[in-house]
Symmetry: C2
């Protein structure tokens, strides 16, 4: 069977896996990114990981190509990472360099786009042609599958839903704007909002769990736990994030007409705590003609969708 290798380059870890044509992960490897050692070191590490996986596959499978998902702005035609804040990369020639080292065709693209592609082709979106995917993590990003194909937009910059301005949000965003969705409705945004409220004297169970300076260790998972314990601050923070994501998705869906919305990323792990208010708000705002057909689901392969999508997209490009 033909397999390809998918690589998901994150700020913390690189995950690399062999994936078959049906999107099954046959073997997987994870190593720290250590971006601080420089781009050459990261590229060498990716090439090493691909070699390890390829050798492990060699006896049974023919490895045809490699797909790499990279955060930030990617010029997938030239194979260049134009800007990746997490990695401190600017105009890094990823695909040509890896092809030289690996000796296989290498295709690169934005990591969220490939994650949603993985879900679209071999996950929650299997069988659907028009998908709007969103990942709720450190930031919030979207990817659009139109008639089975990824949509890129000018300069491959489609999908910046995290920077849609939301009414009633006044936080300053790292992009320079004020009121962007991701400032309060991403996983990191929810954590920031909760910490800020506590710093302003709001009472919460979280203060007992993380006394004093320890509050810096607060995660989105802790917010879910506190919501389950009935904590008002955690509950309000998650519900507000759900409502705002629902509003942004309703506006996007009204323009795009997807048949499925897939919600992934760390934030999706909050499950119905977040998805409940998100769905309620979404269906309240969406055109009646869209309502009956349009489902909102969570990602199926939250952890592996990145490598699955990278690998399958590479196969479909080659």
């Amino acid at each position: 069977m033909v397999v390809s290798i998918g690589v998901d380059v994150g700020g913390t870890n690189i995950v690399c896996g062999a994936v078959d044509e049906n999107g099954r992960v046959l073997r997987k490897l994870k190593r720290p990114t250590e971006a601080k050692l420089g781009q050459e070191s990261v590229l060498n590490r990716i090439a090493d990981m691909v070699r390890v996986i390829r050798n492990a596959m060699a006896s049974e499978h023919f490895v045809s190509c490699v797909g790499v998902g990279i955060p930030g702005l990617v010029d997938s035609k030239k194979g260049i990472s134009k800007f990746a804040g997490n990695l401190k990369w600017r105009n890094v020639s990823v695909a040509p360099e890896l092809e030289k080292q690996i000796g296989l065709p290498v295709y690169i693209d934005n990591d969220v786009r490939l994650y949603i592609y993985g879900e679209a082709i071999a996950g929650a979106g299997r069988g659907y042609s028009h998908i709007l995917g969103i990942t709720i993590g450190t930031g919030i990003a979207a990817a659009i599958v139109n008639d089975g194909k990824l949509l890129y937009g000018h300069k491959s910059m489609a999908g910046e839903i995290g920077h849609v301005r939301m009414a009633g949000v006044e936080e300053r965003c790292s992009c320079g704007l004020v009121g962007c969705l991701e400032t309060v409705a991403s996983a990191s945004g929810m954590v920031r909002q909760a910490k800020k409220a506590i710093a302003e004297g709001r009472e919460s169970l979280l203060m007992q769990w993380f006394p004093g300076g320890d509050i810096d260790k607060l995660t989105a998972a802790d917010l879910s736990k506190a919501m389950d314990e009935g904590d008002a601050l955690a509950t309000e923070t998650i519900i507000r994030a759900g409502i705002l994501n629902g509003q942004a998705l309703a506006a996007a869906a009204t323009v795009l007409s997807p048949e499925l919305i897939v919600v992934g990323g760390g934030g999706a792990l909050a499950g119905d705590r977040l998805l409940g208010p998100l769905r309620d708000e979404f269906y309240r705002l969406i055109l009646p003609d869209f309502r009956e057909d349009l489902k909102i689901v969570t990602a199926e392969h939250n952890d592996d969708a990145g490598i699955i999508g990278s690998a399958l997209h590479a196969i479909h490009q080659s």
Copy 2:
């Protein structure tokens, strides 16, 4: 030279024209739609108009196909108008019926999509690959050109930007929702808002221009005139519509990353009165990375874009 015939079926008039491959209109005909006489009568009238134009062309040009733009929901694969409120049509078999009468391949599609396609290929969008088009008229609708091709979405329902819910808008929309963009920011919406303010006792030049019951004759063009005379109500109404359109377009562009936004329809005739505040709001809200590249322009062929787009899209389909 190969020419095709474009037909734009509106609630009031049918316009039919011969268009060459470069998008030049060679000959044009306009007749009242008279939808009240029934669908058969309208289809016969379209076929008649196509015959007249075709005969006029016959000596010089080969007419290869016909494109028809129809308001509302269109199943372009089957050639069926699924729902057109203006025409009181539901599941009308347009393309098969016209093909029988005319003896040429007939392609149908949504009128706004074809209008924007006309602008994209042979108008303000010439040379651009990623275009977000909007028509501001009785309602507000969008069409998306992605990598040179029209985007349809599930059930061909992409582009319903007029039904994005806007913060601060409380009008009930004919779609059943509350606060849709088009309730206050379309040409008709602006007129309704101005009439409503006058009925509530707001002073305005318009009261002198249209005393008493005559206010029913108020048009969007009158609002432009009153704005030029310094009328506060007209000015506020148009500026508010510009700001709201700017907000909805900024949200859509953040997700789609177009390189050009084309504004057409009757509302675009207000020119910079509307486009000024629209642009100001749009650029205030859009990601800095998008800002430099993204232009907002008015349609070039406001009157003819529909027949040009219908004709060219038919050629490109055949």
